[in-house]
Amino acid sequence: MLLCDFHIHTKYSDGSVELRRTIDLFGQAGFDVITITDHVVNGDSSIGKIAHRFGLSVKADNFDGYISNIRHEAQRAWDKYGMLVIPGVEITKNYVSSDKSAHILIIDIKEFIPACWSYEKIFLEAKQQDALIIACHPHHMSDMSRSTLYLWNNRDKYARYIDAWEVANRDDVFNVISLKKYPYIANSDFHRTRHLYSWKTLLNCEKNTGSVKQCIRHNKGVAITLFRS
């Protein structure tokens, strides 16, 4: 089984660890597949504007550099640790109300997708790029300020676009995902080194981007584990 984490932030947005060190941290711990998913924050809300002002978001003008840096590190990680690193982003639609907020992982992204687009447009563009779409922390969290409920509240409308839902995020488990029998994965939402020890995904597939995406989409051979030292 491949030990995977598909939700990792670096200093490109609000993570506290630089990209290279993040890769090394996961590589040193024996991970097989990770995705770097820094925030792409919507600039059309007051919270989003603050994130842009403080450089807590990947933007259109540094997206190419971000992807190229990840690809460079991915090669190093593959050579050194035999670890697959996939580029991604977390589309971050933040509003004051958690009912309106949503975070979406786009895994294996190729072109920049602005977070201020409509949900349909974002999903269709991600599909166009053959990227995976993951609904992040879709239900109430232990830290209420992090809850993002929009996708769950509108699941009838959007579930068909979503390849998998986070059934667990860091320390939280969302039983509603399993009750609805939605496809699932579990991630750390890594921002700090201590977040390494959190919920993870185990995949029973080949260690390449295509197989990993297929495994998550079909959601067979997927398990979750609480990774502890």
């Binding site: 030990l3 060190r21 590589g27 040193q28 711990a29 024996g30 640790y81 035999g82 080194t193 201590r194 990774f227 502890r228 030292s229």
Partner: protein
């Protein structure tokens, strides 16, 4: 004022002791073969070595640490990674290393061994059983070495009567406040004390991060199983080796103990545990550590009585001297610590000074998730679940959970 002069006297005594420690470190680390492989020019044999690597959990830098042992410049050696169960996250890292170096002689031994209370010895016993070679090197998982390591550590083994060779250790890679404090302490107190004891008191102070021995010598002191219920198995093995008439040699070759992301709690926990075992082993000699903590001794009058110009000036002077001494040892040992971090050295010494008192009132240790009662010579006993001890445990646990 009289009390101040008493503390001043003790502090000066401590500074003299610290000066001797610096001198001892200097004499060891001025060895020409230090981490250079220059010792290779001497005519000598290279006995085949079995490296035992007990693994439990993820140490910082684990992949690189283990990988460094696959790149050693040495004719014949095997590496045995030893774990208690397949679900240990270190198993995956060990597997990756084995797959990456298929031409290296690497074995992974997974066996649940509950022979004793010391989890490290429990981990070592199965590995020791399958070791192929007569020379056994016990090496901790948080150690990183360069390619000359085996050549250097095996060099003293060519001398007659040598039973054990251990190394000087320096802390490297600090990226968090806890790691920086840990590395400061490793590169000052620990390194200084080990060199001082070995040079001036001829007292072996073996640290288990790196110990080379021969199987027959280990068997002669009772085998690894004799140390299964001892917390300081490394120190006791060194002591027994010396008492059996074998020489215990401190190699001047400095190995790296990698500490990247320690929290302050981990730093405090480790040194509380180490303090308790030194108290249980050294007894009244443990007092010398307090006297040797010059910063703490100079600050004590300020903490206990009203600060005055002279007490504060004296404490600042001592702090400056101590930080300078630590900086000197760090440079000597080629430490990677940023020079500015040495300003934290006095703060670290005050924390260590406060920790010094804990062993006097507590004799339980929490190690690798297990709580034990520690007795003379660091012999471990299970911590009972009922009665007085269990209440102490519960209170300590409640405080820890509250802090977390």
């Amino acid at each position: 004022m009289e009390i101040f002069w008493i503390f001043t006297g003790i502090t000066i005594l401590g500074l003299v002791g610290y000066g001797l420690q610096i001198f001892a470190v200097r004499s060891y680390i001025s060895h020409p073969s230090l981490n250079s492989g220059e010792g290779d020019s001497l005519p000598r044999s290279f006995p085949p070595i079995s490296i035992l690597k007990p693994l439990k959990g993820l140490d910082d830098n684990l992949f690189d640490n283990l990988e460094s042992f696959c790149m050693l410049d040495y004719p014949e050696y095997e590496i045995i990674f030893s774990l208690q169960d397949f679900n240990d996250p270190a198993y995956k890292v060990a597997r990756k290393i084995k797959d990456k170096y298929p031409d290296r002689d690497i074995a992974i031994v997974v066996e649940h061994c509950e022979d004793g209370l010391n989890p490290k010895v429990n981990n070592l016993i199965p590995a020791y059983r399958v070791a192929k070679h007569q020379h056994i090197l016990i090496s901790d998982s948080n150690v990183m070495v360069d390619k000359y390591y085996l050549r250097e550590i095996s060099m003293p083994m060519n001398e007659q009567g040598v039973g054990l060779v251990s190394n000087l250790i320096k802390g490297v890679g600090g990226r968090s406040i806890g790691s920086i404090l840990e590395n400061l302490h490793m590169n000052s107190f620990v390194m200084g004390s080990v060199c001082f004891l070995d040079k001036f008191l001829k007292m072996p102070c073996v640290i288990g991060k790196s110990m080379l021995m021969k199987k027959r010598d280990i068997e002669a002191i009772g085998g690894l199983k004799a140390y299964k219920d001892v917390l300081a198995e490394d120190y006791m093995i060194g002591k027994m080796m010396q008492e059996s008439g074998k020489k215990v040699v401190l190699s001047s070759y400095v190995i790296n103990n990698v500490n990247h992301y320690w929290g302050i709690i981990k730093f405090i926990n480790r040194h509380t545990r180490w303090g308790k075992l030194r108290w249980k082993i050294g007894g009244i000699k443990y007092l010398s550590e307090l006297i040797g903590n010059t910063v703490f001794m100079s600050v004590l009058p300020i903490m206990l009585w009203e600060p005055s110009k002279i007490t504060v000036s004296f404490a600042l002077l001592v702090a400056l001297l101590k930080a300078s001494g630590d900086f000197y040892i760090g440079r000597r040992a080629a430490s990677d610590l940023n020079p500015f971090f040495y300003f934290l050295s006095p703060l670290k010494d005050i924390v260590i000074g406060l920790i010094w008192f804990v062993p006097l009132v507590s004799n339980t240790v929490l190690w690798r998730g297990h709580r034990f009662i520690i007795e003379k010579d660091s012999v471990l006993f299970p911590c009972p679940e009922n009665g007085f001890w269990s209440w102490r445990y519960r209170i300590a646990n409640a405080i820890r959970e509250h802090l977390a």
